[in-house]
């Protein structure tokens, strides 16, 4: 049986189609404007903060966000198929723009130090590719309680005690939820394999 993208990653795969050029349902200037405004209202803060960190420069970051949103509009039809990971798509495109620009600016020679940002690679068994869209898509599929505890502890770097206060639950609950959140995330990601193996 043919394996489709959806079987690989149920729920988020259509977002990956965002790169295919298509103006889709947003051809008119008004529709385009509405689309871009809605993306900006929902994702603008996330995008600009990310681009600012990557570029270290607010003006450059604004340019990146502008180009990201324009690209999103050009690919609107595809982007809309997978609402769950629109943000993952936007963040990925923003990062690509930043790196493309940096590359254009300075074709620097090889520098070992530059590879430190690479994730660790271990073992030939790990011949899988996971990216921002995959993980964000998986996080969209776990329950809100699980997601928020991972966001507090991992992405916001909070301690159990701080997260307990923030979320208004006992520290013991934060701990057990964290554990079950990771298990749930694992199940979502492993679930895609079960689909494939079917």
């Amino acid at each position: 049986m043919a394996t489709t993208a959806t079987e690989y990653f149920p729920g988020w795969a259509p977002a990956v189609t965002g790169i295919v050029p298509s103006v889709g349902d947003y051809q008119g200037a008004d529709a385009g404007e509405t689309f871009v405004r809605s993306l900006y209202a929902e994702h603008g803060r996330s995008l600009l903060a990310y681009a600012t960190r990557l570029t270290g420069d607010r003006a450059a970051a604004e340019d990146v966000v502008q180009e990201t949103l324009v690209r999103a509009w050009k690919h609107a039809a595809d982007l809309n198929k997978g609402a769950g990971s629109v943000r993952g798509w936007l963040l990925t495109v923003a990062r690509n723009i930043v790196t493309d620009r940096a590359r254009a600016r300075a074709a620097r020679p090889a520098e070992v130090a530059d590879v430190v940002d690479r994730p660790p690679v271990e073992g030939d068994h790990s011949d899988a590719v996971v990216n921002t869209m995959v993980v964000l898509g998986a996080l969209d599929q776990v329950s809100p309680e699980h997601r928020e505890v991972l966001v507090e502890l991992y992405y916001r770097g909070r301690s159990v005690a701080e997260a307990a206060q923030e979320l208004g639950v006992p520290p013991g609950t934060v701990k057990s939820r964290t554990y079950y959140a990771l298990r749930a995330l694992r199940a979502v990601m492993a679930g895609s394999e079960a689909e494939v193996a079917r």
């Binding site: 993208a5 959806t6 295919v20 990310y50 604004e62 590359r103 994730p119 068994h125 993980v135 554990y179």
Partner: protein
Amino acid sequence: MSEHSQLGAYALGALDADEAREVEAHLADCAECRAELVELEELKEFLGEVPPEAFLDGPPEGGDLLLQRTVREVREAAAAPSAVATPVAPVAKKRGRWLLVAAAVVVVAGALGGGVLIGRQTVEQADGPVPGSVQVSATDAASGATMATTVEPRENWTWIRVRITGLKPGAECEMYVTDKAGKVWTAGSWVVTEQAAREGSRFGGGVLISPDQVKSVEIKTVQGAHVVTTTI
């Protein structure tokens, strides 16, 4: 039980020092928890693929001019349909080594305990290549590596599988995909195990282009040495 449910917070580094010591004392005696911790730490690696800014919502502060500029650009582009219909023109550029930072965009590898996400097993279990796949192979005279490449269509993106023989154990490899416009995409990186060096190393990676846009697939080492290229 209490130690077990603390493992998640421990893996994420969120316990206080006393609690962490308790967990570590338990880990010293409990192989089950040690094994579980390995899995949880792999998940932590995955979480690292998403930037923390992904969890900010709403419009940015003080971004009104940015929004106006963006809207203007969209309106102008919409007024010139031919410009809009043109795919975002990728600029062919030479890839600098330092852009391995960028490689992190599309890459991370990892196994989830028993269940590799899209791992070798999955690839092997698939019922052969999906319809519309293209298979090519090539041998590089200089490196001695032979690669069989399968380009599989997905829903508007492409999954590329390779099987390479003649690699050295421990080699850190990266897959680069060049599209017909000359743009180079990174499709992942991996390390060649002893077994893979003997039996052939398999790797798969996704690129966000349609399969008919794939021009060639090149493997390089992380150090930048060319290994082998297949032209589709």
